[in-house]
């Protein structure tokens, strides 16, 4: 059995020294977890990491790719195990959840330095403290099929500007072709449905939480009007999942859909995409309310237990700078940077479609930062779902949501 030692010794050596990931003595590591996985975007992230390593000899950037489907779980597991990375990309509505548990580093001093350079700070704030740097922002706009519009004498360059106009357009564009619909409404998809309803609520002057954050006011009269309108709009077309709606719009089977910059990228790369126009979301009525859309985004945060927080901050600064933000946008073809000088680049300003996104972004709103957001979101989505499926009237659905959210806030 002596031969066994020849097998066991190398194995022990590998386990002891092989798991260090090829780290050289004295070398520093910046562990970065991020969600850009498509090859073009990933290449830009790698390029930023390579440049960072050149500028900081003796430091290596180790990138781990996450996916939106299970990234949140992996991040929570890493925090629970006490082994978070040094730098972390977070979705805008996750920051308060992590900040409230004290697992993120205070980045307020960095905010003071870069406040004028970046936009989209509100989701990064919790209890007047900043916990992340805005990196990329996203909003939703109205996509209009110009070919279908022309068939009924509507000009897609003069888009609907009030809620009533939007319903009239949806009615007019419905059933113009077999299996074609006037408006594409989101099915009850988790983490998506609320993003489609909240713009109507906000535009009509409604809010989810009271100013002091102690109770919910989602049952206000303006909120009920908004949900009532949203349900009427949903009935003017097709209810499907976002991916199917995007696919159908690109295939010329939807008159209008509210979607994000990923659809713009899809339409531009599709050979047989219909002629289309983009517009900001409409006002509730002439001279009343706002044209508010949903603002989401991706943020860079440093965990409180990061081993190399200084390296992480330096890398974060590189990632959010004008050149690198712009490069990533160009590579993906569908992202909006939080960096103000990058936003002013001709790439955005001289592009008729991207200009609409930037304009809409100015009047977009993020969800209220709250550690219980995942539950609040569920209550909002359940209310919209129950009204869509006529289980409850809009009034009953929002009353129920307000009660649920207020109870959650009291438990908190």
């Amino acid at each position: 059995m002596r031969w066994i030692k020849y097998l066991i010794l190398p194995l022990c050596g590998y386990l002891l020294f092989g798991c260090s990931g090829g780290r050289k003595p004295g070398e520093k590591i910046v562990e970065f977890w991020q969600f850009w996985t498509d090859p073009e975007a990933r290449a830009v992230i790698q390029q930023v990491a390579d440049e960072y390593e050149k500028k900081h000899p003796g430091t290596k950037v180790r990138i781990t790719d996450l996916t939106w489907s299970d990234g949140h779980q992996k991040i929570v597991s890493a925090f629970a195990a006490g082994r978070p990375p040094d730098l972390l990309e977070l979705g805008s509505d996750w920051i308060a959840e992590f900040a409230a548990e004290g697992v993120l580093l205070d980045m307020t001093p960095e905010k003071m330095k870069t406040e004028y350079l970046l936009i989209g700070w509100s989701p990064a704030m919790w209890n007047d403290t900043c916990y992340a740097l805005p990196w990329y922002l996203g909003t939703r706009v109205l996509f209009i099929n110009c070919e279908l519009s022309r068939m009924v004498g509507l000009d897609c360059r003069k888009p609907p500007i009030t809620w009533d106009n939007l319903i009239q357009w949806a009615e007019a564009l419905n059933n113009l072709r077999p299996q074609a619909y006037g408006f594409g409404a989101n099915a009850p998809e988790k983490h998506r449905l609320y993003k489609k309803f909240l713009p109507f609520l906000w535009s009509n002057g409604g809010r989810i939480l009271s100013a002091d954050g102690n109770f919910s006011i989602i049952d206000s009269e303006v909120a009920v009007t908004a949900l009532d309108y949203y349900i009427r709009l949903v009935k003017q077309g097709l209810v499907e999942k976002q991916t199917v709606l995007d696919e159908m719009f690109a295939g010329g089977r939807l008159g209008m859909v509210i979607s994000g910059d990923w659809l713009l990228k899809k339409l531009r790369s599709a050979e047989d995409a219909p002629e289309f126009a983009l517009a900001m979301l409409p006002y509730p009525a002439p001279g009343r309310g706002g044209r508010i859309s949903f603002a989401g985004g991706e943020y860079l945060a440093i965990p409180a237990k990061a081993k190399n927080p200084i390296g992480a901050l330096e890398l974060a600064r590189e990632l959010v700078n004008e050149k690198n933000s712009l490069n990533l946008c160009i590579a993906t073809g569908g992202a909006t940077p939080a960096n103000v000088p990058a936003l002013q680049n001709p790439y955005f300003v001289e592009d008729e479609h991207r200009r609409v996104f930037i304009e809409q972004l100015q009047s977009s709103r993020a969800t209220p930062p709250h550690p219980q957001w995942v539950y609040i979101e569920q209550a909002v989505e359940e209310a919209v779902e129950k009204a869509m499926y006529e289980r409850l009237t809009p009034r009953e659905a929002l009353d129920e949501a307000a009660r649920t959210i207020t109870e959650l806030l009291r438990e908190d």
Binding site: G102, P188, V239, E240, V244, V374, K386, Y389
Partner: protein, 295 residues
């Protein structure tokens, strides 16, 4: 019988050790830890662990979402297990005969089982979506609404997932029944022929009684698997619309891994465990399993 001595025990134990370690680490420990968690409020982010006694279990039975998930799970089990079992038996009887291309049929029925559940689920999402083949067929039969796919229709969503599950599982259980059929001695059928038994009598008096142990196995395994339905729901419907397809394991997943209420999710998982245990005992009793074991 030879009783192994010390050295042999050590050898046997040594050979079993890798399995025992894996069993303890990945089965026993999580099982015990989740039982412990079900009596606590545990926040994985802060690491805080507060003892709450049986509160989670009490809350579960007044939680409308959990009750809806439990009801859907029962509907799923009651709707799929008998149909799958009868279909699998019928297919097994069919392909047990000397038919042309019998091998092709056997393989064809079994192929869905070999395909990854996620792949099958994604395929069916396309078939069920608005304008998809199965949605169009359902519309022609007046069973679907024009403006939404089958998985977005409150009445049709769970039935659609159940139909897919039956299609996927029937082939696997067919194979088990086929193995059971081939164990039945040929002489019994010859004797039945001599007695002038009809095909129906042979099925009722010879085949089905001798297939009873395999039928119990099929029903038990299928029931347990159906109670644990998750992947199909996760990929196809995420429990919607309006909770129409939410099942207990999907509820456990949402509570545990989306809301990080680990204690509450563990309590729900234990409720499901006891439900499955009770149903399995009832099924085994109905099939007379315990009487046979006692004899």
């Amino acid at each position: 019988m030879r009783v192994p001595h010390g050295k042999q025990w050590a050898g046997t134990f040594g050979l079993l050790l890798p399995w025992l370690i894996t069993f303890a680490m990945f089965w026993l420990y999580p099982l015990a830890h989740s039982a412990f968690l079900s009596f606590h409020d545990y926040n994985p982010l802060s690491g805080a662990m507060d003892f709450v006694g049986g509160l989670h279990f009490l809350r579960l039975f007044s939680d409308a979402d959990f009750l809806q998930a439990l009801k859907n799970t029962f509907v799923f089990v009651v709707g799929t297990v008998p149909v799958t079992t009868i279909l699998a038996l019928a297919l097994a009887l069919g392909v047990n005969r000397k038919l042309p291309l019998r091998g092709l049929f056997r393989a064809g029925f079994f192929v869905p089982t070999l395909t990854a559940t996620v792949v099958v689920a994604l395929l069916f999402v396309h078939l069920y979506t608005q304008g998809g083949y199965l949605h169009t067929l359902a519309r022609m039969l007046g069973l679907a609404e024009a403006d939404r796919g089958l998985l977005l229709d409150e009445r049709a969503a769970l039935l659609s997932v159940m139909a897919m599950d039956i299609w996927v599982s029937a082939g696997y259980y067919m194979l088990l029944f086929l193995a059971g059929l081939q164990q039945i001695p040929r002489d019994l059928y010859d004797q039945a022929d001599l007695c002038g038994a009809s095909a129906w009598q042979k099925l009722r008096l010879v085949t089905l009684p001798l297939l009873k142990p395999m039928t119990l196995y099929v029903v038990l395994i299928n029931t347990i698997k159906s109670f644990q339905i998750f992947t199909e729901i996760f990929v196809m419907t995420q429990g919607g619309p309006v909770g129409a397809t939410s099942t207990v394991v999907y509820f456990v997943y949402r509570e545990g891994f989306e809301k990080f209420r680990m204690g509450y999710a563990s309590a729900a998982a234990y409720v499901l465990f006891f439900v499955i245990l009770a149903v399995s005992i009832i099924q085994a009793r109905l099939f007379g399993f315990f009487q046979r074991a006692e004899r």
